[in-house]
């Protein structure tokens, strides 16, 4: 039998450690019997974890010197010089304790951090690919640096600069023809962009740059504000096809580009 009825209010209280200990078991039973409430509880907990995660790094930042100086020398001039204050034993003890606690969790956290950094890195690349697409697809006169009429030169040049054998995929089956390409900066590294357009003038582009993470992935779809890109990682490079075209169209373009790039690397 329930001691009382529970509501969303109790979810907040439970999350914040404010639920009376006597109610906890009963609350868990209620939660288990109400999937909607359970989902809400899980969601609020996840949001809280994100919130905590975003601001946790601030704790590890060095304290600005102006604050240390203020507190150390503050309102009684001539007393409590900074060095004397920092030299006191509790500080060293606290520092040692902090290091011990930190190293216990460090292996696990390092793994998480690694995964998160890799994911963010890929997102940054695909966002750059989309930005580059948006910028140059809108160009009327200077959409490319080297035109499709010099395709061999274009492909050779970009392959050399990016550091992997590239091909400018043939996308005629998908209704797109090569306009040309250009070299772009991608946080200090070169990136290649091949631009295509269909008969109505709609443009899509293929973007290739070296990636710090050497892994292989399937296609991932990235969407933002009506623009989308499929991207994948392969052999230390990140590839992205971007454009404001329907998902299916973009996926078949990504498939064709992937196959032809693979053949290009093999040949």
């Amino acid at each position: 039998m329930s001691r009382r009825s529970y509501t969303i209010r109790d979810i907040h209280m439970a999350l914040d450690g404010e639920l009376p200990p006597d109610d906890r078991e009963d609350y868990e039973v209620w939660l288990a019997a109400n999937p909607d409430m359970k989902a809400l509880s899980v969601r609020f907990a996840a949001d809280r974890a994100r919130l905590q995660g975003v601001f946790a790094p601030v704790l590890k930042e060095a304290i600005p010197e102006r604050m240390v100086m203020l507190v150390a020398t503050g309102d009684t001039p001539g007393r409590s010089p900074l060095l004397a204050l920092l030299g006191r034993v509790p500080w060293r003890a606290a520092a040692v304790a902090a290091v011990v606690v930190a190293s216990a969790g460090i292996g696990y956290l390092a793994g998480l951090e690694e995964a998160r950094r890799a994911e963010n890195g890929n997102q940054a690349i695909v966002e750059r690919a989309l930005q580059a697409h948006t910028m140059y697809a809108a160009e009327k006169l200077h959409v490319v640096e080297v035109g499709a009429d010099q395709k061999d030169h274009l492909v050779g040049w970009l392959s050399k600069r990016v550091g992997t054998p590239l091909v400018a995929p043939d996308l005629t089956a998908e209704g797109f023809s090569l306009v040309g390409g250009r070299l772009l900066p991608a946080s200090g590294k070169p990136a290649a962009q091949f631009m295509y357009q269909d008969r109505s003038g709609t443009r899509i582009s293929l973007y290739v740059t070296r990636d710090a993470v050497n892994e292989e992935t399937g296609f991932r779809l990235y969407e933002e504000a009506g623009r989308r890109a499929f991207y994948w990682l392969d052999g230390g490079f990140c590839y992205a096809v971007a454009g404001a075209v329907p998902e299916n169209t973009l996926l078949s373009i990504a498939n064709a580009a992937y196959r032809q790039l693979l053949e290009g690397i093999a040949s």
């Binding site: 949001d47 919130l51 601030v58 304290i63 503050g74 007393r79 933002e224």
Partner: protein, 192 residues
């Protein structure tokens, strides 16, 4: 204001013994990282946040006698910081500026951040920025700083019931904002 006998008994006699004063300063110094975390989440702009902490420390040091919350100065410092934050919001409201930022900070905000934020971080920061400062403060006090409802209500100077409804509404609002952000931008794994 004279210190209560109880506090004096717990802490020794600060006026006579210089060591106690140093202990107070050491304890305040130890709270700065948390104060900065709270301020950063509260006002977003890094410099404006640190200014709020600096002002709070200045005020705290000028009133060390008022520290009467026992050994841990955290609640006392957060109360001071909250009062300054409220003052700042009122000033900005009168000026018609952004509710939580001085005008110069709002300019900085428009510029791209020097360290690119991941999307996940940006979504949280944007969502926090979009809810009212009252709800934001309530949520941060409890969910990030780990104060109890009673402590947080005390620091914010509001009844516990008000605190609870701010937390509940604030969390609902955040959830909606994060969902909106996620809908605008999705990443899915697709078969190759």
């Amino acid at each position: 204001m004279p210190e209560s006998a109880g506090v004096a008994a717990r802490q020794g006699s600060p006026r006579v013994n210089g060591l106690s004063m140093d202990e107070k300063r050491t304890a305040i110094l130890a709270e700065i990282p948390r104060m900065r975390r709270y301020a950063r989440a509260l006002v977003r702009d890094r410099d404006a946040a640190d200014d709020l902490v600096q002002d709070s420390l200045e005020r705290a040091l000028s009133r060390l006698d008022h520290w009467r919350t026992g050994d841990n100065p955290r609640r006392w410092l957060f109360t001071i910081m909250h009062h300054l934050f409220v003052d700042q919001m009122r000033r900005n409201a009168r000026r018609g500026a952004n509710a939580t930022l001085p005008p110069e900070a709002a300019d900085n905000l428009a510029a791209a951040p020097s360290v690119p934020e991941s999307f996940a971080v940006r979504d949280i920061v944007d969502a926090l920025d979009s809810i009212s400062p009252e709800r934001r403060a309530a949520i941060l006090m409890v969910a990030v700083e780990g104060f109890s409802y009673a402590e947080a209500a005390n620091i914010l100077g509001i009844p516990a019931g008000t605190l609870m409804s701010r937390i509940a509404r604030g969390r609902e609002e955040l959830r909606g904002l994060l969902d909106d952000a996620a809908r605008r931008r999705t990443i899915r794994i697709v078969e190759k």
